[in-house]
């Protein structure tokens, strides 16, 4: 491992269900790194680009984030959102999700296999999709720093199991990131608040609860803070509960109403569903600040579905979803051995905590206003997890004095067990054990000369193996043939600081390190991950080109837009017929090449149009603004015009009088 380099930045990444963010520690303050579009949030949407069948390159390219959100409506069969719900899961786990989300799975997936999602004609595993999101964040950070970024801390829901964590780590590797640590989201949030309030400080030894209701997951964690040590005492949650569920509920209601009122069944129309989904999300957001929201949707038969949703109706509707967070909260409190009134600080995390009904529920659960307390919402609930990830990144990098004294002690959310005789689970590491945690078990053979022993490892709180989550089957091989019961195989189970299980085994009588063959129940093997990394390296070049192509097309659209508005300007009358003809020709040419994939041609055509409109631009300036501003092109003239009519330049220096 290379020695510490000042350029060795470690970024913190919040890989969210709905939005993802990347942050880093600037001096002693964590800050979010914005994307090219200036936005801090990168929507966790991935769209497979439409490739011209005549184009030479047939390699797939993708678009991520805001740019991909349009594809959700225009090309829903090529786009995916909320892929986090599929991470580390098998076919039988996602049946419920499939009814609610437009996930299109490959037809030939077997039970127990890693899922494959269809985008266009291609298949992708959930970690691959997530890797595209991570790569976008990595690029945003690289663009921001002007240097390569290869190390990251990534957050995961505290209640993520081993398979979900492994899938997240695999995604990081595929994106070309060395994942130094997976940090639990609520713990990261506590860290961000802890740092933020370091000056005043949480009270020494105070007990803090973090209530984290995000887009797709719910976590609650109880922590004790002591002199810079953030010690998680208990955690609980539901990895399939969040804002998505509220959206789906509203969507289902709207679909039913449209069907009964207009006789139109939108369910088979993926594009219409996405448009409606967008509308209900907007209504949901409105209802957090307004007493009523309105849905207004044009139906395919040109009728309009208009519907007012008063907040009371909305709150009744979502009550059942919100109440599902109460159980985990009570369990976490019980496991931590504290009563609600012993919680001194409560931190709200996740966009869904903006919903007033959520705040009310939390207030009741933790008796906040009854005790004259308010929840912490000072940090943006969408950003606080990423900020905390940046703090943890700084702790690991040892790059800031501020974080030197901080240490996170987290726990494993689920008990680890092995299947014993009769299909019951023998628990070997209890939930809420501080990690790293380990347990050693001894196994032997049941038959003379037996050389293999199979161990089935499970995660969960239920008594029977069939009710728990199967993590992996370990096959201990190469046991020296001995009389039954004589071999003594010591198996060490270790949950590391990422919450991921490691297993080693040794036959003690022979001293042989037993070979372990691991069959992850829903994970990718190392070899599979390797090929997926290579795939994206192969595509690195084409990806870059695709990005440039998209940017060039956007530029072209921009200038075409502006030229289209020009005939309305008085300047249009001041230019010659020949000039108009030249402009028309340049416009037609640019429109034609912008459809294709020839980057150089698009750029040349854009420049040509810009040149052809140079005189027009000058005339527009002259007619609109007094005083000649020579040498402007269409592009800048139009920009300046916009500013001239609207407001002073936002970055104009302040005038002192």
């Amino acid at each position: 491992m290379p020695e510490e380099q000042p350029k060795d930045r470690v970024v913190g990444i919040d890989l969210g269900t709905t939005n993802s963010l990347v942050a880093y520690m600037e001096g002693d303050t964590p800050v979010v790194i914005p994307g090219v579009d200036g936005s801090n949030l990168v929507p966790s949407i991935v769209a497979l680009d439409v490739v011209d069948p005549n184009a030479e390159s047939t390699k797939p390219t993708v678009t991520v984030g805001n740019a991909a959100s349009r594809s959700l409506i225009e090309n829903p069969e090529r786009a995916i959102y909320s892929v986090k719900r599929l991470m580390g899961r098998g076919l039988e786990d996602v049946e419920e999700e499939l009814k609610l989300f437009p996930f299109r799975l490959a037809d030939d997936i077997q039970s127990g296999e890693v899922l494959r999602i269809r985008l266009g004609d291609l298949h992708f595993t959930p970690p691959e999709i997530s890797a595209y999101i991570l790569r976008q964040l990595k690029r945003n950070a690289e663009r921001y720093f002007g240097a390569a970024v290869t190390k990251a801390v990534i957050t995961v829901p505290a209640y993520f199991n081993d398979a979900q964590r492994q899938a997240t780590r695999d995604a990081g590797r595929m994106a070309g990131l060395d994942v130094l640590r997976l940090v639990n989201e609520p713990t990261a949030a506590a860290l961000a608040y802890g740092l933020d309030r370091a000056k005043e400080g949480y009270r020494e030894g105070s007990t803090v609860a973090v209530y984290d209701l995000g887009g797709g997951t719910f976590d609650v964690s109880i922590l004790k803070l002591n002199d810079g040590i953030f010690e998680v005492i208990a955690t609980n949650g539901d990895t399939h509960l969040g804002g998505d569920d509220i959206d789906n509920l509203l969507l289902a209601v709207a679909l039913d109403e449209i069907k009964s009122d207009f006789g139109v069944d939108l369910r088979p129309h993926a594009d219409a569903i996405q448009a409606l989904r967008k509308a209900v999300i907007e209504a949901k957001i409105t209802l957090s600040s307004q007493p009523v929201a309105t849905l207004d949707i044009e139906l395919p038969n040109n009728q309009r579905y208009q519907r007012e949703i008063p907040r009371e109706v909305y709150e009744q509707l979502i009550q059942s979803v919100l109440e599902r967070t109460a159980g985990p909260c009570k369990q976490a409190l019980a496991d931590a051995g504290v009563t609600p009134d012993q919680i001194e600080e409560l931190v709200l995390v996740g966009g869904s905590t903006r919903i007033p009904a959520v705040r009310k529920l939390v207030d009741d659960l933790f008796q906040l206003s009854a005790r004259g307390k308010k929840p912490h919402t000072e940090l943006n609930p969408d950003e606080v997890v990423a900020l905390g990830a940046a703090v943890q990144a700084s702790i690991l990098a040892g790059s800031s004095k501020t974080t030197d004294e901080l240490l996170l002690l987290d726990v494993t959310p689920l008990s680890l067990g092995i299947e014993a005789l009769g299909g019951v689970v023998a628990r070997i590491i209890q939930r809420n054990s501080t990690i790293p945690a380990s347990a050693t078990e001894h196994f032997t053979t049941g038959v003379d000369g037996q050389t293999n022993v199979a161990i089935h490892v499970l995660q969960g709180e239920r008594e029977l193996a069939k009710d728990c989550r199967s993590l992996a089957r370990f096959d201990l091989k190469g046991i020296p043939p001995m009389t039954a019961g004589l071999p003594r195989i010591e198996v060490k189970f270790l949950i590391d600081a990422n919450g991921i299980l490691q297993v080693t085994a040794r036959e003690q009588r022979s001293g042989l390190e037993a070979a372990i063959e691991v069959k992850p129940t829903y994970g990718l093997t190392d070899e599979q991950v390797e090929t997926m990394i290579l795939d994206s390296f192969d595509n690195a070049e084409t990806d870059f080109e695709a990005r440039q192509l998209i940017e060039a097309r956007l530029d072209a659209e921009n200038i075409l837009d502006k030229v289209a508005k020009a005939p309305a300007s008085p300047a249009w009358q001041m230019i010659s017929e020949a000039e108009i003809a030249a402009i028309d020709a340049a416009v037609a040419h640019l429109k034609a090449v912008a459809q294709g994939n020839d980057l150089a041609a698009i750029r040349t055509a854009s420049t040509a149009l810009d040149q052809a409109t140079r005189n027009l631009a000058e005339k527009m300036m002259e007619t609109a603004v007094s005083g000649a501003m020579r040498g402007k092109t269409m592009q800048t003239a139009s920009d300046d015009l916009g500013e001239a009519v609207n407001a002073p330049h936002p970055f104009a220096p302040a005038e002192f009088k």
């Binding site: 002591n226 040590i229 996170l408 023998a426």
Partner: protein
């Protein structure tokens, strides 16, 4: 748990060559993390084998050692140091979790002294065939009858206030017995701490029996609670 170490710890620090205790996880001179040793849970904290333990002190020591040992402190260290930090922090965490709880502490100490404790490696599964302690045979028999009747009633949707009262009483009774066992355990623990080898042996045997009895009583109380909780709903 109770790892039988096959590798012995070095007698000197790998980094500064200072002499080390056999079980040291950190070098007292240069503070470097050491290869995983066969330290037991008491040794990790530098404690004598005693059952009477100052838990606030234990917590402080846990935090102090965590600051030095935790993998977060070794993100930029060599692969070896990372591996040792992981193994030693797991040991520290396991040790803290076990020692801070009086019952687990007692079980662990008895195991260290070579006594076989009943439910080892059997997980949390119930063992229905376990014999009740001789002095409780009659009460347990009666309780089991009542539990059976109650379950039957619940299945049929019938209510029997007298049975409910009896069961609630039985629960109070057994909870009292449980508290008694805990007192006896504490007393025997004190004897173990203070006594000579012979007294320790004697106390260890009583504690093993008390733990067995406690486990039995705890399972009973759990069964009653299960039935009573259903009854309330």
């Amino acid at each position: 748990m109770g790892t039988t170490s096959t590798t012995s710890a070095p007698a000197a620090c790998w980094a500064c060559n200072a002499a080390l205790e056999n079980s040291a996880v950190l070098c007292p001179v240069c503070s470097k993390v050491q290869p995983a040793s066969g330290a037991d849970y008491f040794q990790v904290f530098g404690l004598d084998r005693k059952l009477n333990l100052n838990t606030p002190e234990l917590e402080r020591e846990f935090h102090r050692l965590s600051r030095k040992l935790h993998p977060d402190r070794f993100a930029r260290a060599s692969a070896h140091e990372q591996e040792w930090s992981l193994a030693n922090t797991a040991l520290l965490n396991d040790a803290y979790r076990t020692l801070r709880d009086p019952l687990q502490r007692t079980e662990y100490l008895l195991k260290l002294t070579g006594l076989k404790i009943g439910e080892e490696n059997a997980g949390s599964g119930k063992s229905p065939d376990r014999q009740p302690p001789a002095d409780l045979l009659e009460e347990v028999f009666e309780l089991n009858m009542q539990l059976e009747e109650m379950r039957m009633n619940q299945k049929m949707g019938e209510e029997d206030p007298i049975l409910l009262r009896d069961l609630t009483q039985a629960r109070t009774n057994f909870e009292g017995l449980l508290a008694g066992v805990d007192n006896d355990l504490a007393a025997e623990g004190a004897k173990w701490d203070a006594g000579n080898a012979e007294a320790k042996d004697k106390a260890a045997n009583s504690m093993a029996m008390l733990l067995e009895r406690r486990r039995y009583l705890r399972n009973l109380v759990r069964d009653v609670n299960e039935v009573l909780t259903t009854a309330v709903i």
